[in-house]
Amino acid sequence: MSGGSFLRDRLAPVGSILLVILIAWYIAAYALNAPFQRDFDRRTDVTRTGAEFLLATMSQPKPTMPAPHQVAENLWTNTLTVKPWSKRSLVYHSWITLSATLLGFAMGTALGVAIAIGIVHVPALDRSLLPWIITSQTIPILAVAPMIIVLLSAVGVTGLLPKALISTYLSFFPVAVGMVKGLRSPDVLHLDLMRTYSASKMQLLWKLRIPASVPFFFTSMKVAIAASLIGAIVGELPTGAVAGIGSKLLAGSYYSQTIDIFAALIAGSIVAILLVSLVGILGRLVNARMGARQA
């Protein structure tokens, strides 16, 4: 972004595309809701003018496609007008999902770093484990999520941990792969220098490899935290709709409450954006503090 202004290169294009999306959303809402409304009016013998009809398509209780303002209104009432700890509040549901996400993310990151350190140091692990880690990600693991949840609840493990385990599985992979790259990123020159200092393997790890891997660490954590949120949401689907964004989605789909589904989706998206930007900002701060290049 050298030379260009923020307004011209970022705000104007992003803003106008968002505006186009908003307009397209309204048009889609009209187009998708109109058939039902026409049918409904014919059966109840109501005749409306064009403008009235347009308004009616935008204010159905269970629209096929809710209009943006309906979703915004639902978000507003369910976050700001109810108490945050009540079961109706999206803040409460987001918090349930967020806690599972963060626990799973922490475990996944720890596991990923541990695996990466093992792979870098043990050649047998490098040869045998790495191909399987990559294969494990081609398996649609989310499909197994309900089974893991049901199994763990059969053993007596319920609540936060089963969801967090799915998040762990999804988030360890980017961290492991990124960290293997990062731990191997120091130059041969630097490694040789450490050897002339007669540094032990531990010293090599702590003083050279880990500092060199920090930019890679934060880049992969950004991917991992997004994956971990998806894991937590899908993990909530089979728990019988108790709490969390995933259960909101499921309940919404049972009762065709499209407005609720959209509101839950947007709540989830806000959580995702907050988490990813938080990791991004943290990464930029740490990288700047350590004088590292961006990976």
Partner: protein, 369 residues
């Protein structure tokens, strides 16, 4: 130079085998001589591997010893599920340690890195996979873990063999209809929008941050909406897949189109090349690694999207449907059979893409020898 070359895996295997002798016989189905035979194989293997043998011979000895012991241990479980003693697990550990030694020998102790690419690079992960299955089988059946909790791989294999028609129907419904259609449409439209957006700088500047953001969102959540819109059949699943695969392709193609260097672009300009010529002959070629990256990401996303979307409502066929209903009926072997199917499909999909990438982007540094 002595004739001995001790290694910790073999030493640990010896200790474990000696310990296992304190708990004979290993299972109710294994007589004491049978158990001793297993121990003898393990001790012989461990001792031989500590001699200074050529690595090929050592690998052969280790492979025979570890797999013979494992085969005997599995055979010893017949009609003796859940009766394994501590000795059984100790000798299982010993066999596994010998296998670890085998992998270490094959990896060449890290000295010959980058060499022996072909056969070894396949053998080692395959050995690892086989041992995961062996340990799974022995631990589940030896310790008598209930079937509803975790079925042994042999039972899953039998189930796969018995229900091939069901698996084939699910495969047709989920993969051939929903995944393939959604994947092709989603990736293609992402690609085309990126090409169009690239023509107009303003458009690309706006789409890139939005696409990046959307890629991080839990898009899987649109599944219930798509089911409401497009009905229970495969069309709704394909729609989920289209939306999930669109943005990664868009973002990666846009990034890839910016990947060619200024020098090359200037060169094209001196040739008087038009926008489309530069695009076709230079920038798309340079973007190929990025595009394949997106195709690979999308292959996983497409399968996940289709399967998870089936949790929200589906006709009575499909992989996601089967998983969610069989979990409810506690038919865990069927669930695992579906997972195995999904894993094979996912891996083949990914492998085919990787192969294609190798032939298309043969010039990329990561494939140079």
């Amino acid at each position: 130079m002595s004739a001995l070359r001790p290694n910790w895996q073999a030493l640990a295997a010896l200790v474990a085998t000696l310990y296992s002798l304190t708990a004979l016989p290993f299972t109710a189905g294994m007589s004491a001589p049978y158990s001793l035979a297993v121990a003898a194989i393990l001790i012989a293997g461990a001792c031989l591997s500590m001699l200074r043998l050529p690595s090929g011979v050592e690998a052969l000895v280790l492979m025979v010893a570890s797999f013979a012991a494992a085969a005997l241990l599995i055979a010893g479980l017949a009609e003796a599920t859940g009766t394994a003693t501590a000795g059984y697990f100790a000798s299982l550990t010993a066999a596994w340690l010998l296998a670890w030694r085998l992998v270490t020998v094959l990896s060449g102790d890290g000295r010959s890195k980058g060499q022996g690419f072909g056969l070894v690079s396949i053998t080692v992960p395959v050995l690892f996979g086989i041992w995961v299955l062996i340990l799974w089988e022995c631990i589940v059946r030896g310790a008598g873990i209930p079937f509803v909790l975790l079925p042994p791989p042999s039972a899953i294999g039998v189930r796969i063999g018995n229900s091939l028609p069901i698996l084939a129907a699910d495969f047709r419904q989920t993969v051939l209809k929903a995944v393939l259609f959604g994947y092709v449409v989603g990736s293609l439209s992402g690609f085309l929008v990126a090409i169009l957006a690239d023509r107009f700088r303003f458009f690309a500047n706006g789409l890139l941050p939005i696409g990046n953001m959307v890629s991080a969102l839990p898009m899987i959540g649109i599944a219930p909406i798509m089911v409401i819109w497009f009905g229970f059949d495969w069309q709704s699943k394909a729609a989920v897949v289209v939306v999930m695969t669109f943005f990664p392709m868009l973002v990666n193609t846009l990034a890839g189109l910016a990947a060619s260097g200024d020098m090359e672009r200037d060169l094209m300009r001196t040739y008087g090349a038009s926008h489309w010529q530069v695009l076709m002959k230079l920038r798309l070629q340079a973007a190929m690694p990025f595009i394949f990256n997106a195709l690979k990401i999308n292959s996983t996303l497409a399968l996940i999207g289709a399967i998870v979307a089936e949790f929200f409502g589906t006709p009575v066929v499909g992989m996601g449907f089967r998983i969610s209903t069989e979990v409810g009926r506690m038919n865990l072997d069927m669930v695992w059979a579906e997972i195995a199917l999904a894993a094979v499909v996912g891996s083949l999909f990914y492998g085919a893409l990787a192969l294609l990438e190798r032939t298309v982007t043969f010039w990329h540094p990561s494939y140079r020898r």
